[in-house]
């Protein structure tokens, strides 16, 4: 081994731990600013799962996944035991007043009467109210908490999933533009219900 190659080896050996250290710093630094509770949704891009669930106002009325097809909409998972749901509720009322089509999925609430009370006193932004007492429907959607909001296109395909409250910022930056785009497509093609594979 000549002196020169030995020297470059030495540099490589010295530089390697530094490089590894810098990589680790970068990795951990990114971890500081990421939210570990935010899971990527396995269902984005897939059709809404099949389910049957009663209506919250009249449990003899049964809804299925068919209720989530035919037009762009939001599916909002909520419960009265969830403080963040209360925080976002007023904003959902505003969106509904602007004509945004929202379906509510009441997730494992303490009681049906409590949930109905909430809707009667705080306002009902939902076009349709699904009552998932056991949480089985929520499992089908991969829900792990409340609130969660899904963006669903006219073909009944899940386009996006938002964990946490829907507020002005989230609506302006993410969900709103997506919803508008879906609505533009929907109005443009005018009620084509053909699912694209």
């Amino acid at each position: 081994m000549t002196e020169q190659t030995s020297a470059s080896w030495r540099w490589a050996v010295l530089a390697l731990p530094l490089l590894a250290f810098l990589l680790l710093v970068g990795f951990l630094l990114r971890g500081l600013f990421s939210d570990p509770t935010e899971l990527s949704s396995a269902l984005v891009g897939k059709p809404v799962p099949t389910f049957t669930v009663p209506d919250i106002y009249d449990t003899s009325v049964i809804h299925s996944e068919q209720a989530l097809r035919g037009r762009p909409m939001l599916l909002n998972v909520w419960a009265t035991w969830c403080p963040t749901c209360r925080a976002e509720h007023e904003y959902l009322n505003q969106l509904a007043a602007q004509g945004v089509y929202i379906v509510g999925l009441n997730y494992k609430d303490d009681s049906r009467s409590k949930a109905v009370d909430w809707l009667n006193t705080l306002g009902d932004p939902y076009q349709l109210n699904l009552f998932d007492e056991s949480g089985r429907v929520a499992i089908e959607f991969g829900v792990y908490g409340a609130p969660e909001t899904f963006v669903i296109d006219a073909a009944g395909r899940i386009r996006y999933r938002h964990v946490g409250d829907v507020n002005e910022r989230v609506w302006q930056q993410v969900i709103g533009p997506m919803y508008s785009e879906l609505m533009a497509d929907y109005n443009g093609t005018n009620i084509s219900m053909e699912p694209q594979s």
């Binding site: 081994m1 030995s6 080896w9 030495r10 050996v13 390697l16 590894a20 570990p36 509770t37 899971l39 990527s40 949704s41 396995a42 269902l43 799962p49 494992k108 056991s134 949480g135 089985r136 499992i139 089908e140 959607f141 991969g142 792990y144 908490g145």
Partner: protein, 158 residues
């Protein structure tokens, strides 16, 4: 000393307690088929609770973990295989839901990382060892230079 012994005895006792004793109540799940029960126990130990970051659904008291245990129980009772239950959970909650992530581009570092570290370590050690061996013997020129230094250095001190 006796304090230390007592503490040690306590620690041993604690270690001997079954690990599920602090976890969820699993007595409600009744099986007539021991094979299904074994599969159920295996699954709930391997499936990860999506709500609670780092607990299997067997160990978590979270309501969602209970729902997923119920779901696992139902599927196992209906005769689902292990892979079917895992696929069901992963389809809904993503790879996060299983403690054994599949080999993909994103998880490759988990699988190959330890091996890579081992190889890097072996390389570093061999390089250092080689350098030590090389430097232990002086060439004739180096020996001469050293001898000269030894002679000249006392003079410089004054």
């Amino acid at each position: 000393m006796s304090h230390l012994l007592r503490l040690l005895a306590l620690l041993v006792l604690l270690a001997m307690l079954p690990s599920t004793s602090h976890g969820a109540n699993l007595e409600t799940y009744q099986f007539s088929d021991p094979a299904k029960e074994a599969l159920f126990r295996e699954l709930i130990g391997e499936l990860r609770c999506p709500k609670c970051q780092n607990q299997a659904i067997a160990d978590s008291d979270a309501p969602l973990a209970k729902d997923l245990r119920d779901q696992t129980y139902t599927m196992v009772q209906e005769g689902a295989t292990k892979q079917q239950v895992i696929d069901y959970m992963v389809a809904r909650y993503g790879d996060f839901a299983h403690y054994q992530p599949p080999v993909t581009a994103a998880t490759l570092i988990l699988w190959l990382g330890p091996l890579a570290l081992l190889i890097i370590g072996a390389l570093v050690i061999s390089v250092i060892a080689r350098q030590r061996r090389d430097s232990s013997e002086l060439t004739a020129e180096e020996a001469a230079a050293l001898a000269q230094l030894r002679q000249s250095s006392p003079a410089q001190d004054q």
